[in-house]
């Protein structure tokens, strides 16, 4: 049996050698750069010291996690992460849908395409630049303050970037400015895919523009909406730190520090590698749990699976 099975396999191996040669070296590559770091999770259960061999490390069990959950700052960081993630989910998900619905009503093709080109632009610009633009617009002599002053909404310029309570809002609004156009692409494509006869039939039946949006367009793009929702929920805790790092400053730090920044500040910078790894594991677990739960709900309601 063994020889019988091995021979065809060898044959296949030789026949498809190019296919193997074109994929397996890259798998080895992925193994090193994506899978080996998972092995690094063992650091979270050690009192890791760089330079020592794996066998020489001291094992400490769950001590790092206990220390993490005992740290008050951790809960603050967690609050910031979830707070800004939820805002990002709420805005970064609904606004592009609405934008796509509105943009779809534009009939003039050249105008429509120009709007698309313009609104996609910020997506391609780095967060470094966007953060620079945002702080400029929101500075004391910035355009926002100038407008607010001339409308007499405020009497003196607001130092937006220095106010803790503005920070989440600023991050969310910057995100909206940068990504709304881009995120609407997928919904716009789904809208265009809807059978135009449905709209014609509804128009004949006397349905107005908004009724058609509500009863035809929205249900038509429901699958896309659901998939994007599940994916965004899975990414909830991995919002990254770029925005927070670049827009934050010491004054607003209590509202700007998110999990990854916490890892950076208390894991890498001060050399508490084990502690930093424990935070990373916690982060991954939360996002996997969220993804699985949201996918299960999705499966129950639609009998489909995203993962």
């Amino acid at each position: 049996m063994g020889t019988e099975k091995r021979k065809p396999f060898l044959e296949v191996l030789i026949r498809q050698r190019y296919l193997f040669l074109m994929s397996f070296p890259f798998l080895a590559w992925l193994f090193v750069f994506s899978y080996v770091p998972i092995w690094g999770w063992t650091m979270a259960f050690q009192s890791f010291r760089p330079g020592k061999a794996f066998g020489e490390q001291k094992w400490v069990g769950f001590d790092n996690f206990i220390a993490l959950f005992a740290d008050e700052r951790f809960y603050m960081v967690l609050r910031n992460t979830l707070g800004m993630s939820l805002l990002a989910l709420l805005v970064g998900y609904t606004v592009p849908i609405i934008f796509a619905l509105i943009l779809n009503e534009v009939r003039h093709q050249l105008f429509k395409r120009s709007i698309q080109t313009i609104t996609y632009l910020p997506h391609f610009v780095s967060w470094v630049i966007v953060a620079g633009l945002v702080s400029k617009m929101l500075s004391i002599e910035g355009i926002i303050n100038e407008i607010l002053m001339s409308l007499h909404i405020v009497n003196e310029p607001v130092q937006f970037m220095q106010k803790e309570r503005w920070f989440w809002g600023i991050v969310t609004a910057s995100d909206m400015w940068k990504e709304t156009g881009w995120n609407s692409i997928i919904f716009l494509a789904a809208i265009i895919g809807i059978d135009p006869e449905l709209h014609e039939a509804a128009t004949v039946d006397g349905a107005g523009r908004f009724r058609r949006m509500w009863h035809i367009t929205l249900p038509g793009i429901r699958p896309t909406i659901m998939v994007m929702l599940i994916l965004s929920i899975g990414w909830l805790t991995s919002i990254g730190f770029e925005k927070q790092f670049l827009l934050g400053n010491p004054i607003v730090n209590d509202y700007a520090e998110v999990l990854d920044l916490y890892v950076l500040n208390y894991g890498i910078k001060v050399g508490r590698y084990s502690y930093g790894t424990a935070i990373g594991i916690f982060n991954s677990l939360v996002s996997i749990i969220l993804l699985v739960i949201s996918n299960a709900i999705f499966k129950r309601t639609t009998k489909e699976s995203v993962i």
Binding site: S23, S34, P122, S126, M137
Partner: protein, 300 residues
């Protein structure tokens, strides 16, 4: 009730709706474009004059001096070189790698097809996290090295899947007839598949290039100890952060003098230089990437 009156009312409503719609879209565009036009205007304005403020869309005292001033900072030239280099090398290698893997997983007859797909897909859902990756790169001696910009992200599963779904849409007959002519799989890939995939390859190239050009965090975390490996976005980050907030967060210790001494107009000129390659390139590729993005999302 006469039909003509109802029709007229409906037309009036439609007109009001479109008026509002177009106005709204113009407003959105203005909000999107204003910051860019504003920094362009400031970067073209005399540096001392800019300090008076009040520059919106047009420079008051036109000058190109701010742009020539950039050349005085030798670290910016190094940074520019490195950014260009990492963008070119990273894009070429990344596109090629993604295309090769995508080709193998698009082949229904490939025995390891599922295995390759799963190994790829898993990387989309988890990552080791900052510290383990940092330790790995340290062990591989990739810290303070140019290759840390290229190697870790070389194989991107998302790009592979976008390419794969495009290749799935190509008729398999083409490959079969090439095979009958005696072409090897490698030949088929090079002379049949790649030429047909040009639009989606352009999309992937754009995505990778933008990611490479815009990256600053890897320089910050892995290469900040070696000034010769600095990148444009990292230098810009230091300059902008420097003036945006005085005093350091724990992670922002190393600051350079460039930011403190350079007036706003010069900073805006640097910002514009860092943004302009993308602003110039992407409108030409728009029709491709919209298609590519939609394909990838539908598939996954």
């Amino acid at each position: 009730m006469s039909g003509a009156a109802a029709g007229a009312r409906r037309r009036r409503q439609g007109l009001a709706f479109y008026g509002f719609l177009y106005l709204f879209m113009i407003l959105v565009s203005a909000i999107t474009l204003y910051p860019f036009l504003n920094i362009l205007a400031i970067s073209l304005n005399d540096a001392t004059d800019s300090m008076r403020g009040g520059i919106y869309l047009w420079p008051r005292v036109f000058t190109l001096q701010n742009y020539s001033a950039i050349f005085r900072f030798s670290n910016l030239l190094t940074a520019f070189q490195n950014s260009v280099l990492r963008t070119v090398i990273g894009t070429v290698l990344g596109v090629f790698a993604a295309a090769m893997i995508a080709f193998t997983v698009s082949r229904k007859d490939f025995v390891a097809r599922r295995f390759v797909s799963v190994v790829l897909a898993l990387t989309l859902y988890f990552s080791g996290g900052l510290v383990p990756v940092y330790m790995l790169l340290r062990d591989l001696h990739l810290l303070n090295s140019f290759w840390v910009y290229i190697f870790p992200g070389l194989v991107n599963a998302w790009n592979v899947f976008v390419l794969r779904s495009y290749m799935d849409g190509l008729p398999f007959v083409l490959q079969e007839s090439a095979k009958l002519d005696g072409a090897s799989d490698w030949r088929i890939f090079i002379s049949v598949i790649l030429p047909l995939c040009k639009p989606v390859l352009a999309t992937i190239a754009l995505f990778i290039a933008v990611g490479q050009w815009n990256a600053w965090f890897d320089t910050f975390l892995y290469n900040s100890g070696k000034p010769g490996l600095t990148t444009l976005q990292y230098e810009l980050m230091k300059i902008l952060q420097n003036t945006a907030s005085q005093g350091g967060q724990t992670v922002r210790d190393q600051r350079e003098m460039v930011g403190r001494i350079s007036p706003e107009s010069i900073r805006m000129a640097i910002t514009f230089v860092a943004a302009v390659p993308i602003i110039l390139v992407y409108p030409f590729l728009q029709k491709y990437f919209v298609k590519g993005l939609t394909l990838g999302a539908v598939k996954s």
